[in-house]
Structures are given as structure tokens and as C-alpha cells.
């Protein structure tokens, strides 16, 4: 589905150049749920921006379903950090904006938007503005907006990081449901080890090395099984991810 081949990404910081990716390769199969985990500034978000087409790799190429990514793509939905909602639009207007900028006629998107608002439990607040919503509601607006685009690839940049524990668990469940139901390919960035193991069918542990290194790749076949969070397997996976992150931390101090 997604083929990242020999990608470099360099950005200019003042006069110096920072090499975030050097000859980076990654293959993602259709229907996978990839989680990227790693310390702040390790280039996780950059990878999402590259996949979304908002940023272009300095060298190399990215292909999705055989087509090179040149700019944003119709079937990719991207939920940015802090949800990327527009404070001047109501919930309903935010949810329909993706379809509006794609020049969909109102008559045809209205039912879809309404369906998504109901599905995400936003019916009562659909005429409210984002500032009047709780963090969890805002995240659900962002999800609703992404899903109205009927994407085949959903990118999420720390979607749940600002939420309280219970809301967070509830939304993790919702994300899992959406992923299983719609057979979406998802790529999610997180700081939380627990979240990574709960949501990722494959977990990539990234470390900031300038360029970024993938220090671990964990397949997680049991993801989505009910009660997974309470199993021994789940505990082992989280410990393993933690050890990879910690070992990276040691490397850091040794350098």
C-alpha cells in the first residue's frame, strides 16, 4: 500500500541543515495499524507530514497504492496535533469542511456529515464552536471530519495526548473500532507505550539520532482482541517497547 523508499529529509534551521531522515525505507501493508513511538523531536511527526504530502522528501520517493505522493491526496486524512479544528466554525461546519473544499455539493454531503456527527455522539453540540467543547469532543470532531472524506489512509499525530485517562481509554476503543470496521490503514504517532501496544498492529520505535533510526519493530498480532489490555502478552509487549526506548536513552547519554 505505502512504499517509502530511500527518503531523505533535510530542513534548514538557521544556517545549519538538520538531516531528519537519511535513506529511510518503510513498507506499510493495506489495513495495517502502524504506531510510531519515540521521544519528542525524533521525527515522528515529520514522517506523517511526508506521508500526507504536506512536506516533500528532499530525496527518494513515497508511493501510495502505486502512485507517487505529490502534494495532498484525496483519500488521505490527517488529524494534526491539537486536532486542527477551526475555532470560527461550528462542529457541523468543521466536519463538513473537508467535503466543502473538495467542491462536493451540499445536498450530497449533508446526510454523510449528519451521519458522522451522530456516530461520534456529537448531535447535541453540532451548532457549538470548538471552544465550547471538551477535549474528548474536539477529538471526535476531528475524527468525524477525517472520516467524512472516506479515506483509505488515516494519519494521526498524537490524537489523544491532551485527554484525561478515562476519555483517552474510551477514544482508544473508538479508534480501534473504526480501524477494524473500515479496514483503514492508519499511522498514529504517540508518546504513550500503553497506547502504542493497544492500538498498533505493528509498532515502530524511533530514536532521535539525526538522522532518525528505527530501533525496533514489533508485530502485535493480538491487537484488537477483547480484553487484550489485561493479558500477559500485552504486558510483555509494553515492557519490551519500554526497554527499547530506555536503551535508546542510554545510547543517548553514552554519546
Amino acid at each position: 500500500m505505502i512504499e517509502v523508499s530511500h527518503c531523505d529529509f533535510i530542513y534548514n534551521q538557521g544556517k545549519s541543515q538538520v538531516k531528519v531522515y537519511d535513506d529511510f525505507n518503510l513498507t506499510i501493508e493495506q489495513g495495517e495499524s502502524i504506531v510510531l513511538i519515540g521521544p519528542s523531536g525524533c521525527g515522528k511527526s515529520t514522517l506523517l507530514y511526508l506521508l500526507s504530502g504536506l512536506q516533500k522528501p528532499t530525496a527518494g520517493k513515497i508511493q501510495i497504492l502505486g502512485d507517487s505522493v505529490k502534494g495532498t491526496r484525496q483519500k488521505t486524512a490527517f488529524i494534526l496535533q491539537e486536532y486542527g479544528l477551526f475555532p470560527w466554525l461550528t462542529v457541523e461546519q468543521n466536519v463538513s469542511l473537508g467535503l466543502r473544499v473538495r467542491h462536493t455539493v451540499k445536498r450530497s454531503y449533508k446526510p454523510l456529515v449528519e451521519e458522522m456527527i451522530q456516530k461520534m455522539g456529537l448531535g447535541e453540540v453540532k451548532h457549538n464552536f470548538p471552544s465550547q467543547l471538551s477535549g474528548g469532543q474536539r477529538q471526535r470532531v476531528a475524527l468525524a471530519r477525517a472520516l467524512t472524506l472516506q479515506p483509505d489512509l488515516l494519519l494521526m499525530d498524537e490524537p489523544l495526548s491532551a485527554l484525561d485517562a478515562l476519555t483517552r481509554e474510551r477514544l482508544q476503543g473508538l479508534l480501534l473500532e473504526i480501524w477494524q470496521e473500515q479496514k483503514l490503514t492508519t499511522v498514529l504517532v504517540t508518546h504513550s507505550i500503553e497506547e502504542a501496544v493497544f492500538l498498533g498492529s505493528r509498532i515502530l520505535v524511533l530514536l532521535d539520532g539525526r538522522p532518525t533510526k528505527v530501533v525496533g519493530e514489533i508485530t502485535n498480532p493480538l491487537v484488537g482482541k477483547s480484553g487484550y489490555r489485561q493479558t500477559e502478552e500485552f504486558f510483555q509487549k509494553t515492557s519490551y517497547v519500554r526497554s527499547l526506548l530506555e536503551r535508546g536513552g542510554l545510547d543517548e547519554s553514552a554519546r
Binding site: 495532498t72 494534526l80 479544528l85 477551526f86 470560527w88 466554525l89 471552544s131
Partner: protein, 260 residues
């Protein structure tokens, strides 16, 4: 009564109180100074009513026309140009030095020159007010657009938005609250400039009316002009607030409260 109604009523009482307070202050000053130069509020209001039946209304509308047309023109040029300068670095790099150097120059000193080129009619007055207000709106709008976070723009682009749509759906709505603030401030400036421009070589407008009454030593008539000038200012302020409430409704909300 719903909450909005109550808030509105509360506000109305506040305004009424302010008016009563100002009138009382005026009354007190008139009584204690005992000079023919400062008439009592009653005398001024009586003169206003009397003169409105004559030609004060005409002067009021001429002034309103001048100030509204020029502010509108300044707005319609300053807003798009400010948004473009705030977003397009290449254009800003070219225009910013020009704005930076010309903005602090008091444009009002060009009045003689403007009178020379545009004549004594409405044109020169409208041009001068537009010229001054334009800069205020331009600079505020540009700075407001610069404050827009790149993530907000990325968010729209990720939905498939093109360059035009970034303007339409992000930059314009994001800058509007600041634009309305600058419009409010500009109203004060616009009316001050209007008064100045109308006190020269003209026979129409409130500025002329006030200066003419003054030179005829008719203080109650002069105050009638001042009252109309004040009403013009307050009226325009209310109009700006009205549009602000419509277009920036999201700015005037109570935020999310836990457990609502």
C-alpha cells in the same frame, strides 16, 4: 426571560446610567462656571431639536456619508492587501519597507496638497480619511495574519484546500476579530480627521457647522453640532459591534465548562 435578554437589559441600564452621569457632569460644570460659552444640556438639546428642523440634519448626513464611504473604502482595500502581505512573504518583503516608512508620517499634513489636487468638494475629505484609516487597517490585518499558526493552514491543506481556500477559510476568518478592533479604533480617528477636514473651505458637514457656530458666537448651536458629532461616533461604533457579533460570533462565547 432568557439569559441573553437579561444580559442585554443589564447592558442597557449601564448605558443609561453612563448617559445620565455625563449629563449630570455637564450640568454641574455649566452651573458652576456660569459662562455663556458653556450652555446647559437643556439649552444644547433644545438647540439641537430646533436646528434639526432647519439644516443640522443635512450637515449630519453629509458627515455620515463622508466618514462611512471613506472607512468602507479603506476597509475594502486594506483588508485584502493586509491579508496578502501577511501570508505572501515575497509581496511583504517588497511592500513592508514602504508601509514601515509611510505609516508613522502624519498623513493629515497632506491636506493642503490634497485640497490642491482634489478640490474643495467631498473627494478631498474622503480621500484624506481613507488614506489615514487604510494604514491602520492594513497594518493590523497583516499582523493578525502573521499570528495564524502554520498548523491551522496545514490542517486546511490536508483536507485538500488550495491556496485560495486558505485565504477564504483560514486567513480571513482568523484575522477578522483583530480587523474589527482596528475598525473600532479607526472610527475615532476617522471622525477626528473628518472634523479637521470639514473645518476648512467648505460649507457642509458637522465640522463646518461647529466652527461656523463658534465664529458666530452661538455656543448652544455649537453644542448642537457637538452632540450630533457624538451621536455619529456612537452610532458607527454600534454598527461595527453589530457586524463583529455576526461575523465573529465564535469570539463572543462562554468557553467550555467542566460538567456542563
Amino acid at each position: 426571560m432568557n439569559l441573553q435578554g437579561k444580559v442585554f437589559q443589564g447592558k442597557s441600564w449601564g448605558y443609561l446610567g453612563a448617559i445620565v452621569f455625563l449629563l449630570a457632569l455637564w450640568q454641574y460644570a455649566a452651573w458652576s462656571l456660569q459662562t455663556p460659552l458653556l450652555p446647559t444640556p437643556q439649552a444644547a438639546i433644545a438647540a439641537t431639536i430646533r436646528l434639526l428642523e432647519a439644516d443640522l440634519g443635512k450637515h449630519f448626513w453629509v458627515s455620515t456619508y463622508r466618514v462611512v464611504l471613506s472607512t468602507l473604502t479603506a476597509f475594502l482595500i486594506g483588508l485584502p492587501l493586509g491579508i496578502i502581505m501577511g501570508y505572501e512573504d515575497r509581496i511583504d518583503r517588497f511592500l513592508a519597507p514602504l508601509v514601515y516608512i509611510t505609516y508613522p508620517i502624519p498623513k493629515i499634513v497632506f491636506l493642503p496638497l490634497i485640497l490642491l489636487f482634489l478640490g474643495l468638494g467631498d473627494g478631498s475629505k474622503i480621500f484624506l480619511i481613507t488614506f489615514i484609516v487604510f494604514f491602520q487597517i492594513l497594518v493590523t490585518t497583516r499582523d493578525a495574519v502573521r499570528k495564524v499558526q502554520s498548523e491551522t493552514i496545514s490542517s486546511l491543506r490536508s483536507l485538500g484546500g488550495n491556496r485560495f481556500q486558505v485565504y477564504r477559510y483560514v486567513l480571513l476568518p482568523a484575522s477578522l476579530p483583530d480587523v474589527f478592533t482596528s475598525l473600532r479604533l479607526s472610527m475615532g480617528t476617522a471622525i477626528a480627521v473628518l472634523f479637521f477636514a470639514e473645518s476648512f473651505a467648505t460649507t457642509e458637514g458637522l465640522g463646518y457647522f461647529i466652527m461656523d457656530s463658534w465664529s458666530r458666537a452661538a455656543p448652544d448651536e455649537m453644542f448642537a453640532g457637538i452632540i450630533m458629532m457624538a451621536l455619529l461616533g456612537v452610532g458607527l461604533f454600534i454598527v461595527v459591534d453589530f457586524f463583529d457579533n455576526i461575523f465573529c460570533r465564535w469570539q463572543h462565547l462562554n468557553g467550555y465548562k467542566e460538567g456542563k
